[in-house]
Amino acid sequence: MIAFAQRLVWTLIILLGVTWLTFVIAFVVPADPARTVAGPKADRETLATIRKDLGLDQPVPLQYVRYLQRLVHGDLGRSYLTRQSVLQAILERLPATAYLALVSLLASAVIGAAVGCITASRHGSAVDLGILVGSLVVLSLPVFWVGMILLYVFAYRLRLFPLGGFGVVNVVLPACALGLNGAAYYARLVHTNMRTVLDQDYVRTAHAKGLTPLRVYGKHALRNALIPLVTLLGLDFAGLMSGVVLTETVFNWPGLGRLAVEAVFNQDIPMIMGTVLFSAVLVVGANIAVDLLYLAIDPRIRSQGR
């Protein structure tokens, strides 16, 4: 319990650190922060008003405090282009990204578990080396390239899926592209775990006793395969978000990633910094959530720096 409380305190400190780093990038480093907020078309009066509102003539620590105050009120600024509140734009796009992320985690788990189980049934270090190399190759594939190939083969050539865009069925291809990385990690995890389990005495005994492979696998092996699933979920949420940016661009998926890329394309600084901050907060949130899950599932697990 104490460890959990400690973790919580550290998380808050990290959140503060995240806001501080975003603040520095957005307001301290640029030559004219008022212009980055107001946009290239703003006239002198607007710039002066913004300078006063943001307190840009005050010392940096005070500016930071005002920045935090604005954050607490949910004010992430307004987009140059649409004049829409950044937070509102992000929240509008969040469900699409959440949907994609969830389905891709599902895809990772399913594909990874399948591959891991199948290969675990074979013995030998050649297979183990094969899994390692195979997963390394899969991890080396650029996600946007995989996405384009999936689009070309399954959507254009075979007409099995729609060509990008948002929809219930449309999520399959981008989720597969995004989930491939996770699937590779998960396959290795499952493979290792299953091998360890299968090598244990009680399993061999079960075999000897004549229990069918299905029962052997089903009862013991699979349960052990599920524990690393939690590891998978929290394994690389930041990496997942990076993948989301590219996947959404390839598949024209209307989520946070596309929002960020469009903001960069239009040099819409408030929107860029808003999405960066928001996703960092999501990552921190996901990490603490995974820690909670760990403690809930197996209080004996104490991970040291994951």
């Binding site: 946009g39 290239p40 078309k41 140059y80 282009l81 469900p95 959440a98 949907y99 969830l102 254009y156 060509l163 990008g164 865009g165 948002f166 929809g167 219930v168 024209n252 209307p254 394309f265 239009n266 040099q267």
Partner: protein
């Protein structure tokens, strides 16, 4: 707990994901584009997409027919005084707004005053400043002394000075008739809830998803429109739009992807379905006449000789014609015998040496960040490298691009296009070349007192022939001064389904739908009254 949440999320998303391919029953014309319509407020829109839909929802006093000639729309006839300063329009008596109220002369006055009103922030205000009393329109609302209502169906305009383009200005959506009570009722939201007198009515607009128009059964032209409505999907990329068209799910594709175009043009099946028109647009490279080395005319001319324009056309699948000057050849009053600049790198090299740059120089070409413009820029970069001019390409988003081009000392070369608002050469030559427009549309900061004088004289010449002659002289002079590298005039290609009939492209305005109809399988027109029953 997580499963329940997931389940809920799934169901919610399932519900939200309405299939975008459901078209309503009846002969609806199906379109799709990547970007949403920016606005439907005629005073605000200043882009092809907004104009296309505003033209379907509203009417103007006059409008262009299929051949580009002005004809009356709300006006049945008009008189012009001998001094060309007074225009009197006689309106039709059978026009109603879609809220039921008849359209009268006062609505015309209200609409133009609204456009001039600074609170509306209309970019069309500048076009009506020639009306007497417009200079007093600095605060809301304003009453123009120059617009008189003689009776409910007669409106008279008095101008401060001669304006050969005044009728054309009244054909712009900025002059469309809007009902005052609806504008007051909706305020800023009028852009999303437009009420007009046009052939169509807005029936649904889900932002970012689809826009749907329905036919106006009380439209004053009998038998028009011949469609039950128009559906426009949003968020559909060019590639996807093409595939949908091929699968029979779309009726019109306005931007045919380059990858497909090369194939289409050679396939007999598609040829009768293609529609094309030479636009009144010129693509060019602007050179800042106040930045070295472009201050020297010889350098600018050398750039013109160095760029291979035919090669550029091949990059865009020959969807264009080489530009020999500023004004597109299909513009009324255009000069058919322009010299232009043929491709001659040797001559370019000689000119550069003469100007003192035997080993060339380094410069930066600013372009809008998009695959097609970057491709053109790279071809141009190669051509200029052959005459030792090292060009760095700077891709930049549209908004910041325009801002930068307007700053006087920042941008040495830029890739841009100019499209005519009116079918008159002055719309190119005066706006882009007169020194008084520096800081506005004269992006090359070109200034030639002789040209200014000729343009001023042309603006006051009533005799059309003489005026066009003056403008031709201006163009020839300016071509010699070469503030631009003249690239090409785009040819617009669209493709339609076989069932789409009477769909015609217009050189100056977006395609209209009021006369388009969709044929049944046997080639006949389905009755529109039965559409609801289907």
């Amino acid at each position: 707990m997580t499963y329940r949440l997931l389940g809920c999320l799934f169901v919610v998303l399932l519900g939200c994901a309405t299939s975008p391919d459901d078209a309503p029953p009846g002969p609806y014309l199906r379109l799709a584009e990547r970007d949403d319509v920016p606005t439907l407020d005629p005073a605000r829109g200043y882009d092809t997409v907004s104009w296309q839909f505003e033209a379907m929802l509203f009417n103007t006093l006059v409008d262009y027919d299929a051949d580009g000639n002005l004809q009356g729309e709300l006006a049945t006839a008009w008189d012009v005084s001998d001094d060309h300063l007074t225009y009197t329009f006689h309106l039709r008596r059978d026009v109603r707004f879609t809220n039921g109220r008849p359209l009268v002369a006062d609505d015309i006055r209200y609409s133009i005053e609204r456009t001039l009103n600074p609170a509306t922030r209309s970019q069309g205000a500048e076009f009506f400043r020639g009306i007497r009393g417009a200079e007093q329109c600095t605060a809301a609302p304003c009453r123009l002394a120059g617009i008189e209502i003689l009776d409910p169906y007669t409106v008279r305009f008095r101008l401060r000075q001669f304006d050969p383009l005044f009728l054309h200005k009244l054909a712009m959506p900025f002059a469309a008739a809007v009902p005052a009570e609806e504008v007051e009722r909706w305020g800023e939201d009028f852009a999303r809830h437009p009420v007009g007198s046009g052939p169509f009515v807005l029936s649904e607009w889900a932002p970012g998803q689809r826009l749907q128009l329905q036919r106006n059964p009380d439209y004053f032209v009998p038998g028009v429109p011949r469609l039950a409505g128009v559906v426009r999907l949003v968020g559909v990329s060019d590639d996807l739009a093409w595939l949908k068209y091929d699968a029979g799910q779309l009726d019109v594709v306005a931007s045919i992807p380059p990858a497909e175009f090369a194939r289409l043009i050679r396939t007999p099946r598609y040829q009768p379905l293609l529609r094309h028109v030479t636009t009144m647009r010129t693509q060019y490279i602007g050179m800042n006449c106040r930045l070295q080395p472009f201050t020297d005319r010889r350098v600018r001319q050398a750039m013109n000789f160095a760029v291979n324009k035919v090669k550029l056309l091949r990059l865009i699948n020959n969807r264009g014609t080489v530009a020999k000057g500023f004004v597109p050849p299909n513009m009324p009053g255009a000069n058919p015998d322009l010299p232009g600049y043929p491709f001659d790198p040797g001559h370019a090299q000689r000119l550069l040496t003469e100007a003192g740059y035997p080993n060339g120089f380094t410069t930066m070409l600013w372009v809008r960040s998009a695959d097609d413009t970057l491709r053109l820029a790279q071809s141009i970069q190669q051509d200029l490298a052959d005459v030792h001019v090292a060009v760095r390409i700077k891709p930049i988003a549209w908004g910041p691009f325009l801002e930068a081009v307007r700053s006087p000392d920042l941008v040495p070369m830029f890739l841009l296009g100019w499209e005519a608002d009116f079918p008159d050469p002055s719309n190119f030559l005066e706006v882009l070349l007169h020194s008084k427009y520096i800081g506005s549309n004269n992006d090359t900061l070109y200034s030639n007192p002789e040209v200014d004088a000729l343009l001023d004289e042309a603006a006051e010449t009533v005799d059309t022939e003489r005026r066009l002659q003056l403008l031709r002289t201006v163009e020839l002079r300016a071509i010699q001064d070469a503030p631009w590298v003249f690239l090409y005039h785009p040819v617009s290609y669209e493709i339609v389904q076989p069932r789409v009939r009477d769909f015609r492209l217009h050189p100056l305005r977006p395609a209209r739908f009021d006369h388009v109809w969709l044929a049944d399988a046997d080639g006949s027109q389905p009755p529109l009254g039965a559409s609801a029953a289907r």
